[in-house]
């Protein structure tokens, strides 16, 4: 069993007035092929006037993961980090970071993807943001 923090960001496309992104992070315990335990989930929205850079993304992921009260390796999709090689992204985070590899990690990313997507949809509806 391994402790991971799966993260995913939704809304990295331009809407009226800038970029409205929602990052979701989930502290999980996983085995090789299954999510064994979901310990905590946090989301964090971010408004940006300009297109997000790699550093913005790293900061957003760090901030979201900091809200969790559990430790673990941050796991993200390669596409979320602009397909940068892992040696580069690993060195940009203050804690352990890796791209998704095992079946369970892929499942976890899927889970947080659904969370961030639906959270963003909900926020856009509630705050009446013009998409």
């Amino acid at each position: 069993m391994w402790d991971i923090i799966a993260v995913d960001i939704s809304g990295r496309h331009r809407i009226k007035g800038g970029y409205y992104m929602v990052c979701a992070a989930a502290a999980l315990t996983v085995s090789a092929s299954y999510i064994e335990k979901v310990k905590q989930i946090k989301i964090l929205p971010l408004w940006l006037k300009r297109a997000p850079s790699l550093l913005d993304i790293v900061q957003l992921i760090e901030d979201t993961a900091d809200q969790l009260s559990f430790e673990g390796t941050i796991v993200a999709e390669k596409g979320d980090m602009y397909n940068k090689p892992s040696w580069m992204t690993e060195s940009m985070f203050s804690r352990a970071f890796k791209y998704q590899e095992s079946i369970a990690e892929r499942r976890s990313i899927e889970l947080v993807h659904h969370i961030s997507l639906s959270a963003r949809n909900l926020l856009i509806n509630e705050l009446q943001i013009e998409a």
């Binding site: 391994w2 996983v30 090789a32 092929s33 590899e101 095992s102 079946i103 892929r106």
Partner: protein, 429 residues
């Protein structure tokens, strides 16, 4: 004369291998990738006579630097090579430019894989698949190559006037024809899979990196003699055999191996082959455990990458093959390092036949569950025929012939439902 002919035939296969690596990349890994290219070249039946490497970012015109390309041209002249094989993917312009400088045929890794596939393809269907993959690769290049070659002949300013591009049209027509033919073959496969499922078979497939020993395991477990070699892509056409798991019948399919950065168009072309893996009830992911842990991780990651999108929910058993080559005391250490990537690990040696019992137990554990029930059949001719059908479809644990036939029975839920449906009208009469 004979010697001359032999020389000529070996001369025809002379190749030079080229690889460009990006700065700051892992040297050991790059060497491994180069070794993989050497293995591919061996599998295609070429004789490598020279190697060239350069570390730099890609050049849009030549892939390597201009100076290195001239060096390559010199090497081609000196060795009399007939072909240059690049590890990196080449654009049409690069292919054209390099072959202009080197005055010989230039191909990249993907074309090399296609050549191997073309060589190994023996059935009508696999020949079609290979042709489809080749055509798909060719299409975007066809237009560019024709335009590069005929630039001066074209009407209009700078050759931008209209020019018939019938070559590309021909390719597209051929693609559509092959696709429809393969489509109908796929439907046949689907109905075959359905039939097998209905007959009570569970479908198991062997997947894994190329040269992991899938065919050897296949032979060992079903007692068959499929061709096995220490070579990449020995198996191209899926081979299916029945496997007896202590009364439960399953069909085991041996499939083509994966390779790193296999492009999507190639995966798509072999879709009907890979479907065997994607649509099975259980996947045995075979891994060569005698390699370095980092290498195993990389290969597992490639396998998960290829599988993940399509196998939603199908359980995977990781089979660590070639365990005889590793000291037993080291196995735990290896498992600790790569455990997070390897669901349900089993250590075996297909060559020596060890660990097969444990593997079968693991397989049974992950197959779709069978139900247990007690049936009572009428002691008549019809009852006997139902009983013989039950024997075919599942495992009969106990039979008692009394006024009625009492059976303790285990099978898939569908079979048991059918048995109940068959028995109900009889019980009413």
């Amino acid at each position: 004369m004979k010697i001359l002919a032999e020389q000529k035939s070996s001369n025809e296969n002379r190749v030079i291998l080229v690889k460009r690596t990006i700065p700051n990349s892992d040297l050991e890994r790059e060497e491994y990738l180069f070794q993989e290219l050497r293995e591919l070249v061996k599998a295609a039946g070429y004789l490598p006579v020279g190697e060239l490497k350069q570390t730099r970012y890609p050049d849009s015109k030549y892939q390597l630097g201009r100076g290195k390309i001239e060096e390559l041209a010199e090497l081609v002249r000196d060795t009399g090579a007939d072909k240059v094989i690049f590890y990196n993917r080449l654009s049409t312009t690069q292919l054209f430019n390099i072959s202009e400088v080197c005055k010989c045929q230039v191909i990249d890794k993907f074309q090399l894989i296609l050549e191997i596939f073309a060589k190994r393809a023996t059935t009508h269907r696999s020949k079609l698949q290979v042709e489809l993959a080749k055509l798909r690769y060719e299409v975007p290049r066809a237009r560019a190559v024709v335009s590069l070659l005929k630039k001066e002949e074209r009407p209009g300013f700078m050759g931008l006037g209209d020019y018939e591009d019938s070559y590309e049209q021909d390719l597209k027509k051929r693609i559509v024809r092959i696709e429809s033919e393969l489509g109908s073959a796929e439907k046949d496969d689907e109905s075959l899979r359905d039939l097998r499922h209905r007959r009570g078979f569970s479908l198991i497939s062997l997947a894994g990196y190329t040269n992991a020993g899938k065919s050897t395991l296949f032979n060992a477990i079903v007692d068959e003699s499929v061709e096995t070699k220490d070579m990449l892509f020995t198996t191209l056409i899926p081979m299916t055999r029945a496997l007896d798991l202590g009364g439960r019948k399953a069909l085991l399919t041996d499939t083509v191996g994966f390779i790193e950065d296999l492009p999507h168009w190639l995966v798509d072309a072999f879709k009907s082959t890979l479907d065997e893996i994607f649509l099975s009830d259980l996947i045995l992911l075979v891994v060569d455990v005698s390699e370095k842990p980092e290498m195993i991780l990389q290969k597992l990651s490639t396998a998960h990458d290829t599988l993940w999108d399509r196998i939603q929910g199908v359980p995977i058993v990781t089979v660590f093959n070639k365990a005889d080559l590793v000291d037993e005391s080291e196995l735990d250490g290896i498992l600790e390092k790569i455990g997070y990537m390897a669901p349900n690990p089993v250590f075996i040696s297909a060559k020596e036949g060890t660990g097969m019992a444990a593997l079968k137990v693991e397989i049974l554990k992950h197959l779709p569950p069978w139900c247990f029930c007690s049936l009572s059949l009428p002691n008549s001719e019809k009852g006997m025929s139902v009983l013989s059908w039950l024997y075919e479809e599942g495992v009969v644990h106990r039979v008692e012939f009394k006024e009625r036939i009492l059976v303790d029975y285990e099978a898939r839920a569908e079979i048991i439902n059918r048995a109940h449906a068959l028995l109900e009208p009889q019980q009413q009469t």
